[in-house]
C-alpha cells in the first residue's frame, strides 16, 4: 500500500522564500502497475516523489509505503556517474554483498536495461548518451527496488533510443511486477506505458484514475493517438474513449476498414 495522508510540503518554511509545493495531498496508489505522473512544470511532481522516497520529509501529514524498497532514477541520471568502469558504477550500492551475489545482481540489472556483460569493463564516460542512461538506470535496479520511480526517463534522447529504453521498462514491469511511477511531459509515453495516471496542478492532485480518462480533462496535453482519434470522431467515427495506445488504435481502425471493404 502506498498512501499519502494530508501531506503538505513547504520549501523554506518561515522565510521570505516560503513555497507551498504540496497542498494537502490524499491519495492511495495502486501497486503492481505502471503509474503516470503528469502536470505542468512547477506543479509539484518531483516534490511528491521525493517525499515518497524520503528524500524530503513532509511538513505535515503522513506517507505509508509498508517499508518497501524504493528506487528513484533522477532526471538525467547519467550526470551522476562517477566510477571508472561500468561494473564499479553499477555495483556501488551493493558493495557489501558477497562476490557471487553481487555479480549475479549486476548482470541481472544489465540485462534488464538491454546491455550485455561486454560492457562490464568499459569506461562509462566513453559510452553513448543512451548507454550511459541505461547504466545509470541499472545502478538503481541493482538494489532490486519494489517501487521504481523514473523522473523523465527518456528526456534528451533520440526517438529510437527512447523507444528502446521504454520497451525495457515495459519488460521489467512484466517480469518483476513491481510498481513503476513515471514522470513525463511526453503524453505518448504516458498513453503507451501506463495503466493509471496522476494529474497534478499547483501542488494538488486533480485526477487519479485510468489513464484514458485523464485525457478527457479540459486543457490537458494529448497523445498523438488521441489527437487523431478526436479528428476521426469529429468526422463521424465512433472510436471509444478507452482506446489510446498505438496498436489498439491501429487495430480498431483496421477492423473498421475491413468491415467497410466487406
Amino acid at each position: 500500500m502506498i498512501k499519502f495522508e494530508n501531506v503538505t510540503y513547504i520549501y523554506n518554511p518561515n522565510t521570505v522564500y516560503e513555497k507551498k509545493a504540496l497542498d494537502n495531498i490524499n491519495i492511495k496508489i495502486d501497486e503492481g502497475q505502471i503509474i503516470g505522473l503528469i502536470g505542468k512544470s512547477g506543479s509539484g511532481k518531483s516534490t511528491l516523489v521525493q517525499n515518497l522516497c524520503t528524500l524530503l520529509k513532509p511538513t505535515s501529514g503522513k506517507i505509508f509505503t509498508d517499508n518497501k524498497k524504493i528506487g528513484f532514477v533522477f532526471q538525467y541520471p547519467e550526470h551522476q556517474i562517477f566510477e571508472m568502469s561500468v561494473k564499479n558504477e553499477i555495483e556501488f550500492a551493493i558493495k557489501n554483498l558477497d562476490e557471487t551475489e553481487k555479480h549475479k545482481r549486476v548482470l541481472d540489472a544489465l540485462v534488464a536495461v538491454g546491455l550485455t556483460n561486454n560492457y562490464l569493463n568499459k569506461n562509462p564516460f566513453e559510452l553513448s548518451g543512451g548507454e550511459k542512461r541505461k547504466v545509470a538506470i541499472a545502478s538503481i535496479l541493482v538494489m532490486q527496488p519494489e517501487i521504481l520511480i523514473l523522473d523523465e526517463p527518456t528526456v534528451g534522447l533520440d526517438f529510437k533510443t527512447q523507444q528502446n529504453i521504454l520497451s525495457y521498462i515495459k519488460k521489467l514491469h512484466e517480469t518483476k511486477k513491481i510498481t513503476i511511477i513515471i514522470i513525463s511531459h511526453n503524453m505518448n509515453i504516458i498513453a503507451e506505458l501506463t495503466q493509471k495516471t496522476i494529474v497534478m496542478e499547483n501542488g494538488k492532485i486533480i485526477f487519479y484514475g485510468q489513464t484514458y480518462k485523464a485525457f478527457n480533462i479540459p486543457d490537458i496535453k494529448l497523445p498523438d493517438t488521441k489527437k487523431l482519434i478526436n479528428l476521426l470522431n469529429a468526422k463521424g467515427f465512433q472510436i471509444p474513449d478507452s482506446i489510446i495506445k498505438f496498436d489498439e488504435t491501429a487495430k480498431f481502425i483496421a477492423k473498421k476498414l475491413k468491415e467497410k471493404q466487406n
Binding site: T15, L55, G71, Q80, F82, F92, M143
Partner: protein, 263 residues
C-alpha cells in the same frame, strides 16, 4: 541559500549609487578593525541598525547571514581567548587561562566580524550583482591600462550568476547519490572520503559542461572581450548620493573623533 542574495524593496539604500555603497563598505570595513573604544562601537552599531531599517530588508535575513558564519566567529574568539595571556586572570582550567584582556578582545573581534557581515549583507541585499559589477568596473577603470577590467567584470558576473545554479545542482546530485545508497554520514572516514568523490566528480563535470555551453553561447553571439563597451544604465550620481557622501564623510570623522576621546 540566501547569503548575499539581492532582496529588492526599492528603498533609499537600494537606489543609492553602487559605487558609493561599495567604496564605503571597503573603507568602513577596514576602519572597523582599527576601532577600539566602546562608545564608538555603540555609535557604529546604532548607525548600522538605522541603515538596516532604512533598507526595509527583513532583519531575519541579516540574522541568517550572520548565523552562517557563527562557527567562524566562535572559533576565532575561542582561539583569541586562549592565546592571549596578559591581563588579570578571571578563569583558570589546567593550562588554559582566560584573562579580562583576552575576553575583551574576543568580544571586540566577534563584534567586528558581525558588523562586517551586516554591512556586506546590506550591500548585497540592496544591490543587484549587475550593478555591483558595474560599480567595480567603474572603480577599476582608471587602471584600464594595466588591468583587463572588462574580463574581470565578466568573470565576476559569471561567477556570481552561477553560484546559486551550482548550489542547486550540488543539492540535486547529493539527493540522487543518496538514492543510490551512498552514505555521506558514514562513520568510516576512508569510506566517507570515497563517497564524497561521488559528489565531486559529477559536480566538476557539470561545472565544465556549463562552462562549455556558456563559451559556445558567447561565441555564437560574437563576444569579443577587447571591444570598447558602454552600459545601458550609466552610473550617475543623484542628489541622494551627495547626501550619502556627506553623511559618510561626517560619520568617518565622527568615529575618528570618538576613537580619540578618553573618558
Amino acid at each position: 541559500m540566501n547569503f548575499g542574495q539581492f532582496y529588492n524593496t526599492k528603498s533609499i539604500i537600494h537606489q543609492l549609487d553602487p559605487r558609493i555603497k561599495l567604496l564605503s563598505l571597503i573603507i568602513f570595513g577596514t576602519q572597523i578593525f582599527f576601532i577600539d573604544s566602546i562608545q564608538n562601537y555603540i555609535v557604529i552599531i546604532c548607525t548600522m541598525f538605522f541603515l538596516v531599517y532604512l533598507s526595509h530588508v527583513p532583519f531575519k535575513l541579516f540574522l541568517k547571514s550572520t548565523k552562517s558564519i557563527c562557527s567562524i566567529i566562535l572559533f576565532t574568539s575561542i582561539l583569541n581567548m586562549f592565546f592571549i595571556t596578559n591581563g588579570n586572570v578571571i578563569f583558570k582550567f589546567f593550562f588554559l587561562r582566560i584573562t579580562d584582556c583576552s575576553l575583551m578582545l574576543a568580544i571586540k573581534m566577534s563584534l567586528r566580524l558581525i558588523i562586517l557581515v551586516f554591512l556586506t549583507s546590506l550591500l548585497t541585499f540592496t544591490t543587484s550583482t549587475l550593478r555591483l559589477t558595474d560599480a567595480l568596473v567603474n572603480i577599476l577603470s582608471p587602471f584600464k591600462k594595466i588591468l583587463p577590467t572588462n574580463e574581470i567584470s565578466m568573470i565576476i558576473s559569471i561567477t556570481l550568476r552561477f553560484i546559486p545554479v551550482l548550489s542547486e545542482e550540488f543539492k540535486m546530485i547529493m539527493k540522487a547519490q543518496t538514492m543510490r545508497g551512498i552514505d555521506f554520514k558514514s562513520k568510516n572516514i576512508n569510506e566517507r572520503i570515497k563517497n564524497y568523490l561521488a559528489l565531486l566528480i559529477p559536480i566538476f563535470i557539470s561545472a565544465f559542461r556549463r562552462a562549455d555551453d556558456l563559451a559556445f553561447a558567447m561565441q555564437a553571439r560574437c563576444y569579443n572581450p577587447n571591444i570598447k563597451r558602454n552600459s545601458l544604465k550609466k552610473l550617475k550620481l543623484q542628489a541622494a548620493d551627495f547626501y550619502a557622501i556627506s553623511f559618510l564623510i561626517a560619520f568617518f570623522f565622527l568615529t575618528c573623533f570618538l576613537e580619540n576621546l578618553k573618558f
